[in-house]
Amino acid sequence: MKIVVQLEAFDPGEELDNFKGQLKSSGALVSFSGIVRDIPGGLNRIEIEHYPIMTEKAINKICSEACLRWELEDLMVIHRFGSLKKGELIMMVATAANHRTDAFEAAEFLMDYLKSRAPFWKKEIGSAKASWVVSKAVDEKALSRWETS
């Protein structure tokens, strides 16, 4: 289980190959990559701030929860902080399971929680102005899918 919060850029293909390379029995491998998008007026860069000790705790908790809920052989989370340019990878999640439904659901679960429950904040620095990304109601709502009654 690779969980990394890093300043450095990374290559999605290399990470996918490494993740796949150490699997022993899985038939299904899902990956999600989040990419820095442009903004109207042009993006200079984004800055990602995080809360180091809590970030690790929160991501570990989310990953443990995913392992309890689905039959996974392995999972991976990489999330960057600091300064990122358009087109660069913000983060990547990968899940491996015997069956595709487990791999897909676990990846979506991880993404939904990373979006709204891991302490990261994005600031978009455009040519004219800089502004903090505002959280979306739809992202908060996405979490309700995973609530256990």
């Binding site: 701030e49 809360y51 429950r117 990261f120 904040w121």
Partner: protein, 83 residues
């Protein structure tokens, strides 16, 4: 009681600090927010809309009415935007 208080994102920018040490008698997070708002105008600005203030106690998400008992580190920040 001595606590470390951390601020992130625009809460940090409005407060003008990323971290400070505070001696407080606050029983809940709400009490602490009120104490801060009395101390200086910048906190009033940062905490003007409590709906968009999230809090973590010792790096665990909490509520504004959570108890401050035995807490060593409080963090205030807006809703998270990771992923």
């Amino acid at each position: 009681m001595i606590v470390q208080v951390l601020y992130f994102s625009w809460v940090r920018e409005k407060v003008g600090l990323s971290k400070e040490t505070i001696d407080t008698e606050a029983k809940t997070v709400s009490d602490l927010i009120m104490e801060l708002c009395i101390k200086d105008e910048c906190y009033k600005l940062a905490f003007s809309n409590l709906d968009v203030i999230r809090v973590a106690l010792d790096q665990e998400l909490a509520d504004q009415n959570s108890s401050m008992e035995a807490v060593k580190e409080v963090a205030f920040f807006p809703p998270m935007t990771g992923g």
